[in-house]
């Protein structure tokens, strides 16, 4: 079973995305802060990470930077989850090295396709 690390501070959002992923057969690892997420990351080695950009302690960009800086984790795909919806945001997220992003509020019908596309897996 594939493992997903979800770093998200809002419990509702956490419940929603983790339920959807669970329904699709993923094992979920949860973290509510950026630092907490980095900690479990090293211990659990998930297949990919879903990362909220607005976190209470350090920003999602910072979390991403640290994931990429570590040789043992830099290959793990990271998908951002954000309510940024401004012009140029998409480009900015991709140029920071994210593999994809989900826009809040997420579209429950399409979210799995979006994740597969970001991971480069055929749907």
């Amino acid at each position: 079973m594939k493992k997903v690390l979800i770093i998200e501070d809002n419990p509702d959002n956490m419940l929603l995305i983790s339920d959807i992923l669970e329904l699709n057969g993923y094992a979920i690892i949860r973290a509510e802060t950026g630092l907490g997420g980095l900690e479990v990351l090293l211990a659990t080695r998930p297949d990919f990470i879903i990362l909220d950009i607005q976190l209470p302690d350090i920003s999602g960009f910072e979390v991403l930077g640290r994931i990429r800086a570590n040789d043992s984790t830099k290959q793990i795909p990271v998908i951002a989850m954000t309510s940024y919806a401004m012009l140029g945001d998409k480009e900015r997220l991709l140029s920071a090295g994210l593999d994809g992003y989900l826009e809040k509020p997420i579209d429950t019908d399409r979210v799995m396709d979006q994740i597969r596309e970001a991971l480069g897996v055929a749907p």
Partner: protein, 920 residues
Amino acid sequence: MKKISLKLRIILFVFLVSTIPLGLFLLISIDQSSKAMVDIIAKRLQGESRLVARSIEGFITQRVLELQVISQADVLEQESANRIGRYLKEIRKEDKWITAFYVVSLSGRVIASTDENLHGGSFFDLYPTAKELFNKSKEAEQDDVFISEATEFVDGAGLLMMTPITDDDNIDVIKVLVARVDFVGIVELLNLLDTQILGKNKASVIDANGAVIASAGDVYGAARVSQRVSVNPKVLEHVFSESGFGYLFYTNDLGDELVTGYAALSGFGVNKAISWRVIESLRLEDVTLSVNRVRNTTIFVGLVLSLFSISIAYVFSRNISRSLREASSHAEQIGRGDFSRSLSFSLGGELGMLATAFNTMAARLNNTQEMLREKNDELVLTAENLRDREQNLEVTLNSIGDAVVTTDAHGLITRMNPVAEQLTGWSLHEAKGRPVKAVMPIVNASTREVIANPVEKVLATGEVVFLSNHTTLISKNGNEYQIADSAAPIRNGNDTIQGMVLVFNDVTESYRLRHEKDLALASIRLSEERFLLVAKATNDVIWDWDFVSNTVWWNDSMQNVFGHALDELEPGAESWTNRIHAEDSQRVIAGIHRVIDGGGYHWSDEYRFRRVDGSYAQILDRGYVIRNAKGEPTRMIGAMMDVSERKKNEKELENHRRHLQELVEEKTHELIRANERLQEMDRLKSLFIASISHELRTPLNSIIGFSSIMKRGVYGELNQKYKDYISRVNRSGQHLLSLVTDIIDISKIESGHVEVELSDFFIDELIFNAVEDIRRQAEEKGLSLSTDVPRGILLHTDRTRLLECLLNFLSNALKYSEEGVICVTVEDKDPDLLLTVSDTGVGMSEQDLTRLFEAFERFESHLRVKAGGTGLGLYLTKKIATELLQGEVGARSVLGEGSAFWIRIPKTLAATSETGGVFA
């Protein structure tokens, strides 16, 4: 013999002065203009080449800059091919002239590309010739960009541009970023610049080997470098021997003469790779062809003209010689004394024949002249006698002081002396032969009735007649004179009346003097009366100061205004001086004496004057000095006006004014402060709305997300009622989301936090995509879609925003139409573009139309409930169209028949400086 020679001479002359110079002039001027034309064309070709060269430089420079920026994206330093590939694809969308991006490892493997099929492959398999440049790029520093020579690819031709990707510290090169730019872009650019002259030439870009890299109008311009047409070696040598621009003339192998303008392109990249020239050629024949056409027409017209003038000359010369012959024969007849025929004489040259004929005639005329001279001498003697007598009479009449007019027996004027001329205003010359009453109309001085002229009476009765004293003569120029006159008949030897003499003189002056004296007396009486009345009636205190007796007369106002009883006043000037305020007294008295003693007439002053109760009144006093013939002052009259009340009012008025001004200033300050507060609040409001809307998206994530999972019954089937409820929750959530999205957009525009993103695109492509987007929805409703869009209109504006407006119109049309057609029309209204979306839906009333583009104004209709929507769509569209795209929107509609919404925007949007940061 002579006749023929004259004709010939005239024709020859015409030929010499007109035809030959005309021909020469035409030949020279055509030659000159042809040369000038070629010169202009050559300069023009040179200029066009420079323009094209600068444009291509701009084209390449832009890509160099892009590459420098892109090479610094963090993602490129990472190793995930997918991530890099996704980023490359995203930025590739921004620039259609970059065919592909590659991120290549130092060993030459393609790490990532815009084409993911190439990931992991060898870069040099794709581009074998790029090796040398690639090795240079590995050694280079950040921001160095290398550019290849024109390169032929497997699938086209173009340039490769390379720049190193460095590590975190920007020192070590870890990868190389490569961009491939195909020549299709340069061909497109050449087509856009439209360099045609005389519909013939086209611009080409050539390299140092003489291969044509790109050429305007070359549809398949990107095919193969090696297959290109090669350039004439003469041209090649010339244009590459210089590094600037210019033009040259040469003859090609086919023997055509050509002119070519050229301009050099500067080298690009650190390796200064590109050594290209832009050339534009034109066959001289094409230039001279049009000039030659003009020359042929001109020569033909010239020939016709000179033939015409020679024919005219021929006819003209024949007429002249014929006239001359006739003239000479007539002159002979006159010489013989035969005057029965008159002679019509024309210009001519053959005068020899005429000379003898006129000699004969002169002899006969001489006799007649002798006889006439004798008769004339007799007449002169008689006239002199008469003139002497006339002069005697003239002198007499002229020296008389009275006016004298004589007439004939019919009363018509025969003579007037100068005095009469002056009084009547008529000169003798004008008046002679006219009736007396016309020349000297007379009227009664007081009644203005016309008086019968004495002339008729004199002529009828033969008596002497005198006129009354009250007679006025009206002269020709309108002057009037009082006259006294008499008239007497003139009799000849037979005692019959043969005329009349009228004598009169001007008594105007004496009459006027007498009349004026009467008037003056009456006027003085009136003035005295008036003065006394005024003195009684006025509120002013009037005084009359006699200097000779030093007495002062005051009117009643002295008592009424100041309370001083007239009989208690001192008799002299003391009555005044004693009552002036002590502080004013010296100044006022000195002032009045300055006027009196200084020869002045007018005096005025303001001072305080004591009332009987001891208080003081504020006085304005004005006086007038009366002087005798020698200029000595004899008397002074004046009036004192009590201005105490007025003074007080003026002061109060001034106070009011000052107070008012202070109030206005205070209010203005308040308004400015209020306005500043308002502006700040407006800014805060927009910020607030933007951030609250942003925050709203997070809870909406739960509402929409959970409700849609629930709706599907993933964790167990819901009963029908719950299913209905949760569907409603979900729908409301979606509605709220679109509201929030619209509000964010509006507040971003209102707070100026929007960047307009300019790009070039074709309108037909945009509309095609938009229509495809809604096609499924339209078909589900049974609506058909049609478009009427001219192809190839290029826009330079914000594509995303325009698409947003169009989609909004389309979704409205979908919402409010139940059947029929939705039609998208585009019209080119240079410099604008008009885009219209019309439908056959419910339409709306005039009233609805006016409120249509306001916020939350969804119009009333029976479809409203079904329609949904936020009520902000058209408001947002208007904001985008007017504030971002610098255009306008509008709608027209007929209730029950359908609506049409239009947007009109400039095809090219000028970049504005007003761009806030991206709001996040």
